[in-house]
Symmetry: C2
Subunit: 307 residues, 2 copies
């Protein structure tokens, strides 16, 4: 059996406006996007919380594809809701409303049967909760985390402590600069690696992603899509493809991690083609493989420059 | 003998402030950066204008490396001067002062012996002057042009006319969006190709460059430098490496054009390591080849994702 991935993150309801349309109360949240993406590669164990108003039947397609929902707590109260809008350039979301609901009292409780998960992804939640998860799991092979500007500002000491306990962090370029106070991303990545992680994945949205290790840099472009429909969830879908592929292969060699970054980029590129996790649920493994080949074509050149 | 490249552009004096230092009245201008870069690959024929205050002896290193200055007019008046500043993030220049001087009356006059140049680069000048150059040259194999926001605003009809006469255009992402009124770069590139050019090179600064053709897209990242010293001239150095390499090889196949984009990216990455064209004059062909190999390493991955 393939290595399962444990993900702890949000399960939300998103209402999104883009120049191309509107979606109301659709599946959202980092845990949802990550799971939808990673489940193409390996079994997923999702830990999160929803209110008693959550349309859990909408998660059935995830369960059907190997996402174990035993860690999804349902508590009394309203679910995490986010309402946002993207303007013409689709580059940044404008948050119109955030309603944390039951998520504001989330205390991750990892079911016994998930505690041996060899691959763990701590999606973007309070670093104190991310640390609590690590107290509950037993010797994972790879622990990865995500974070955001809000935690960098409000929970810096805990976030820096977390860095000492993870193998890999994914964050975007603005967050990397904010966290490290280095404008230059090479320096920012080194600052982070000095705090613990062996791998730093810096996501630049439409400009691609860098993977830094102690002695190498890998870059994967974003796929130049002609029609980006809704950017919500691209980063978590990227992480799901990346970690899901690593777990499925169980291979943490540099060459396989590079391939995993491209797989993640492919998954991010699918995620933005439709609202919510809709496109991620439609695609097949053949679609993914074909897109990875397109990435290969996109950057392929022969370095022999003799004239 | 290798194919020469004719370049028509500015030869200026730059005064630049960056977070790392100041340089006063150093060599600048699109023609200067292009020539400094292209001359690593092939003979260059430079057409431009300077005032009688220009320290032409500072161009001797260019002449020594095969830049023919017979087309550099010296006229009475003061030279083109630009004064600019880069803030901490180095992403965009703040122009403090532009003094066009003799450049404001520039009428390119292509010397007879340059009119057969097989490769022509029309650097960023008034599209009406770019068109005048094309009336003077005889059947070049490849004509490329650059442009900027100022001409897109003030000379749109002439710029669109120019597009019908060039094989290739280089411009940055903001300019591509401004010219085409498409936010999406794939659509922007197609809009431009519909006006004439077979190749569209969209430069994204620190985010790399795309080369679009009718049926392919190639992407080259920017080199992740730890120390960017002065971004001035990066785009023209890129163009110099790109066109210079194409001219030297005389090979316009897709695979060679991809290699040329990477050579251009390498030259752009050297240009920003020191003030003015200083670094471009220091480097050797071995340095360039080594950096091209580093680009290869930066994007290398094996697309076989079988588990």
């Amino acid at each position: 059996m393939k290595n399962p991935v444990l993900v702890v993150g949000s399960v939300a309801l998103d209402s999104v406006e883009t120049p191309f349309g509107k979606a109301d109360e659709v599946l959202g949240g980092s845990g949802t996007f990550f799971s939808s993406s990673a489940s193409h590669f390996t079994p997923v164990q999702l830990v999160g919380v929803v209110g008693d108003d959550y349309p859990v039947e909408k998660l059935e397609p995830l369960a059907a594809r190997g996402v174990d929902l035993a860690g999804l707590e349902k508590v009394s109260g309203s679910s995490f809701r986010w309402r946002g809008r993207y303007r013409h350039d689709l580059n940044s979301a404008e948050t119109l409303e955030t309603h944390l609901g039951v998520f504001s009292h989330f205390r991750p409780n990892i079911p016994e049967q998930f505690r041996n998960a060899p691959f763990v992804f701590l999606a973007n939640i309070d670093p104190r909760l991310q640390l609590q998860v690590l107290e509950q799991v037993k010797k994972p092979r790879l622990v990865a985390c995500d974070t955001m500007n809000f935690w960098i500002e409000s929970r810096r000491p805990e976030l820096v402590e977390l860095l000492g306990h993870v193998d890999l962090i994914t964050l975007n370029d603005a967050e990397a600069r904010q966290l490290t106070e280095h404008t230059n991303l090479v320096k920012a990545a080194r600052w982070i690696m000095d705090k613990g992680p062996k791998f730093v994945l810096i996501k630049k949205g439409e400009h691609g992603a860098f993977m830094f290790t102690r002695d190498s840099i890998f870059f994967a472009p974003a796929y130049p899509l002609e029609n980006v429909f809704d950017p919500t969830g691209a980063g978590d879908s990227f992480a799901g493809g990346f970690i899901g592929y690593l777990a499925a292969t169980g291979d943490l060699s540099e060459s396989n991690m590079r391939r995993a970054v491209v797989v993640g980029s492919a998954m991010g590129s699918f995620a933005v083609e439709k609202f919510s996790n809709q496109r991620l649920l439609e695609i097949t493994r053949a679609d993914i493989d074909a897109r990875v080949q397109e990435f290969r074509q996109l950057v392929a050149f022969d370095a022999e420059i003799g004239e």
